[in-house]
């Protein structure tokens, strides 16, 4: 260690951590709670974070779920929402009682671990934030139980308040107690759609219709029968021609896929419940190997029987590790997975007396979830046509996307793009969604691509006649939740970092005239901006 350090590099700058925790669990759903409780039972210090209740600002941005502005004003009252979340998940009280450090309303927005381009931090870090500030914790084992998020599907008018996702609907109803719609149209008749319809009915809501593009309901027969017994109409071979209203949703116009006829249904809420998507953003940040597995719901991490990912210190449990055929109705699988991961983590951390869980791992899902996605996307793209807005944040239309056009605010020579499209791009190599994002801006907006990344993936695959999974996962980047500068701001940064900050590399000769010989011992002045005193 006698070699000199580059003072302007990251070397030697250790970022302050608020705490070191042997086991951190992200997500307080069934799998995460089970993991935290099991780890605590085994005597480990555990931090359990969950982002719910999320701030009203994020709810308005459809982050992390597509809330569609269908939450009442109570969501602005954070203490009340905290009470509701705790009440909705009895395991949280138990975790408190077990000594788990439970932190609710806390976003896990980043994770920093050793890798080929990052070696300078002494321990793996998890980056957290609430609505006021951000901080880092270090950990020995990370159990990610981040659940699933909504799968949005563009339809004419899908940007209207009142269009929401299935997981957002479930959260609004059961977690926040703040759902403010009355009459729903549910899109999708797979397990997610059927469960959504039944849950709505049980809550005393009016379900005007369940819509399906296929010629028959898609989910398990028992759930289909249960929906039918409630009297909910299942409209098959139909897509959404329009979601209409003055500003908010007032009605849905359905189109018969066989005869082209339309009919209107009055409603105040459209729940897109075609499917949900495993939340793999942290795994992507952590560099865990992920693969596309249609029965698991898309890209999921590679895991062993304990839920251990390709990063040995990181576990994936619950829906984020892959959806189950049973849907939300059966949390037993998630709970078992959470416990197994906690036990494996305990063994890693020296509890060699902890035997492996005797229960056999859950059966792998078998139902292929890809056809429903492709069928819906294809039907809605055909219905919406060129003008269909695929990316709401950046106002990218289907035409723009398929034609890899620059955004509308730029002047460009349309003739130059006449021969350029996804086909021509595909001829130059496998299509990559990140490249299409750069060209069209689809997925670059404040919702961080949550509402369009699966759609763009499916559209690319459909248009290039490729399997959906052949389009690589577009990258996730920190912060995984949109965080204000004031929150992200490192008010705790190390003094040596502040003192040695340079706008660019601190190479003296780089800033002196390159038409003269570089001085041997140039004094560095070019990039080192005097940073005002931190206390100013």
């Amino acid at each position: 260690m006698t070699e000199p350090l580059d003072s302007t590099a990251i070397a030697g700058k250790v970022f302050p951590v608020r705490a070191h925790v042997p086991v951190v669990v992200v997500g307080a759903g069934p799998a995460g709670l089970a993991a935290a409780l099991e780890a605590a039972r085994l005597g480990l210090a555990v931090l359990l974070v969950d982002e719910h209740p999320v701030g009203a600002g994020l709810i308005g941005m459809d982050v992390p779920l597509q809330f569609g502005e269908r939450m009442d004003a109570a969501v602005r009252n954070k203490p009340r929402m905290l009470e509701r979340v705790v009440a909705a998940r009895p395991g949280i009280e138990e975790a408190f009682a077990m000594g788990v450090d439970v932190q609710l309303g806390v976003y896990a927005w980043g994770a920093f671990v050793d890798g080929p381009t990052s070696r300078a931090q002494p321990r793996p870090l998890l980056a957290l934030a609430d609505d006021e500030r951000s901080w880092l914790v270090s950990w020995d084992r990370l159990i990610v139980a981040a659940g699933a998020r909504d799968l949005a599907v563009a339809a004419p008018g899908w940007d209207r308040p009142g269009v929401m996702g299935a997981r957002a609907f479930a959260a609004a109803l059961d977690l926040y107690g703040a759902f403010n719609g009355r009459r729903l149209v549910v899109l999708g008749s797979g397990v997610v759609g059927l469960e959504t319809a039944l849950r709505a009915k049980a809550a005393g809501l009016d379900v005007a219709a369940l819509v399906e593009t296929a010629d028959a309901p898609q989910g398990p027969a028992a759930l289909v029968d249960a929906v039918r017994r409630t009297g909910i109409a299942i409209a098959t071979r139909r897509c959404v021609a329009a979601i209409a209203g003055t500003t908010e949703v007032e009605r849905v116009v359905l189109r018969g896929l066989d005869d082209g006829t339309t009919h209107e249904i009055a409603c105040d809420t459209v729940v897109t419940a075609i499917d949900v998507v495993p939340n793999v953003e942290l795994f992507d940040l952590l560099g865990c190997r992920v693969a596309y597995r249609a029965p698991h719901g898309g890209f999921v991490p590679d895991v062993d029987g304990d839920g251990r990912t390709s990063a040995p210190a990181v576990f994936a449990v619950g829906d984020c590790a892959g959806l189950s055929d049973a849907g939300l109705g059966d949390p037993a699988t998630a709970i078992a997975a959470g416990r197994r991961a906690a036990r494996a983590a305990a063994r890693d951390l020296g509890r060699t007396d902890v035997p492996a869980d005797g229960a056999p791992p859950a059966a792998e899902p078998v139902a292929d979830r890809d056809p429903a996605l492709r069928r819906w996307i294809a039907a809605q793209a055909a219905e919406g046509g060129d003008a269909l807005v695929v990316c709401q944040c950046e106002n990218v239309t289907l035409r723009d996307l398929l034609g890899v056009r620059p955004p509308a605010y730029l002047d460009y020579d349309a003739a130059k793009f006449a021969g350029r499209n996804l086909h021509s791009l595909a001829a130059e190599g496998p299509l990559n969604q990140d490249q299409i994002k750069r060209l069209t801006r689809a997925g670059m907006g404040p919702c961080q691509g949550r509402r369009c990344r699966e759609q763009v993936q499916a559209l690319i695959a459909l248009r290039s006649n490729a399997p959906t999974g052949s389009v690589p996962l577009p990258s996730f980047r920190a912060p995984l939740r949109p965080l204000p500068l004031s929150v992200l701001s490192a008010d705790d940064e190390p003094a040596e970092l502040r003192a040695n900050w340079t706008a660019w590399f601190g190479i003296p000769a780089q800033w002196l005239p390159h038409w003269e010989k570089a001085p041997e011992d140039a004094e560095f002045w070019g990039g080192r901006v005097p940073i005002p005193d931190a206390t100013k």
Binding site: A9, G287, K416, R420, G429, P479, W501, V529
Partner: protein, 393 residues
């Protein structure tokens, strides 16, 4: 993708589809040269498409050409680059103002002008600065563009002129015989050539070593953050407080700066450039720069890998042996200078010298006698705190 065997060699093979290689290839194609770009991934994928987009490099002999060409680039390429002229430097206090005045002199000495902005004038131009801002400078030169759009513009424009690009083609070797490069070997096949432009960024050293030439560059990772869109300022090219960056034409604030991390690259690999806790320090500096934008949300961060030479200056050199190889690395500052560097490289490849800029001191020869472990003496090596606490991730 065409059958590998169907792609023929070219008069000039450009190794590396980053911004320098793409610009050089485009300039070559403009001259009617048969050119082929070999890119191991997607064009402009790495640092070339992930940077601050600045086009203001007064210390470079290519500065005048940079300034001359950028306003014409949309028209020359036929594709939008989002270029905008002018830069504003915001000074939070007197010390920063003095510093920025010092850094302005190099351009002023070349005939470019600078206007001083008092706090009030600055606040009008840059509404996100605070009440206590010291003032600023308006540079009537320089500018900024969108790196992603520009790199794709180069690629498309060179194709429009008959140039070819082969993506996902990892170059393994530049084959030399009789003091000349005769072919470039990659996974898809071997491409005969009359000349080679080696513009492979961090991989330039490895590939040049293959024919016995030492190119002293080492790679490092640097990172940036980007916010949600804000109403557009009159001039987007605003920075200061140790940050570089701009407001994009979409309205996002995209800024970088701060500590880099020296890394090692394993062979021909493309390491995933990750972010670090430095993103929080970037947010802090951006909030200090624009206190009235403190509420704005950061929606993304990114990182890129760049290479640096010992003096941080480009190597733009037509070698003596092999005599038909041009080495082109811009030492971590490639994007903004690319219109000019590509033209210089084109001239080096076709005429052997550059007629519009003095590249005397950008030759490889300046590093003759450099100690083989020169980078260790500067601490330009991967560093780990080494307490052994980190589990393998």
């Amino acid at each position: 993708m065409a059958e590998a065997g169907a792609v023929k060699g070219a008069s000039v093979v450009v190794v590396g589809g980053g911004v320098t290689g793409l610009s050089a290839a485009w300039w070559l194609a403009r001259e009617g040269v048969d050119v082929l770009v070999l890119e191991k991934g997607i064009v402009g994928w790495e640092a070339s498409g992930r940077n601050g987009g600045g086009a203001t490099h007064a210390y470079s002999p290519l500065f005048r050409e940079e300034q001359r060409l950028w306003p014409m680039m949309d028209e020359l390429l036929g594709y939008p680059t989002e270029y905008r002229r002018g830069r504003i430097r915001v000074a939070l206090d007197a010390a920063q103002l003095e510093h920025y005045e010092l850094t302005s002199r190099l351009a002023q000495s070349q005939g470019f002008t600078v206007d001083r902005l008092d706090a009030r004038a600055l606040q009008e131009l840059v509404p996100y600065v605070g009440d206590d801002v010291a003032g600023g400078l308006f540079w009537n030169y320089g500018g900024h563009a969108n790196p992603q759009r520009t790199v794709q513009g180069y690629a498309w424009a060179l194709q429009d002129r008959g140039g070819r690009i082969l993506q996902h083609a990892t170059v393994r070797e530049i084959r030399v015989a009789g003091g000349r490069a005769i072919a470039v070997v990659c996974d898809q096949g071997t491409f005969g050539c009359d000349a080679v432009v080696l513009a492979a960024g961090p991989h330039t050293a490895r590939l040049a070593a293959g024919f016995g030439v030492a190119v002293p560059v080492v790679p490092a990772r640097a990172e940036m953050i980007v916010t949600e869109p804000l109403p557009l300022m009159r001039h987007g090219g605003v920075d200061g407080n140790g940050l570089y960056g701009r407001q994009t034409l979409r309205g996002n604030l995209a800024y970088g700066g701060g500590p880099h991390e020296w890394i090692e690259i394993d062979g021909a690999a493309t390491p995933r450039a990750v972010n670090s806790p430095v993103v929080r320090s970037l947010a802090r500096r951006l909030r200090e720069l624009f206190p009235r934008a403190a509420h704005v949300r950061v929606i993304r961060s990114w990182a890129g890998v760049v290479e640096n030479t010992p003096d941080g200056r480009p190597i733009l050199d037509r070698l003596a042996d092999p005599a038909n190889v041009v080495i082109a690395t811009m030492s971590s500052v490639g994007f903004g200078l690319s219109p000019a560097s590509g033209r210089a490289v084109m001239q080096l490849a076709t005429a052997g010298s550059c007629d519009f800029a003095d590249l005397t001191h950008l030759g490889l020869g300046r590093f003759a006698g450099l100690a083989p472990d020169w980078y260790r003496d500067r601490g330009w090596v991967p560093w780990s705190s080494g307490d052994g606490a980190a589990p393998a991730c």
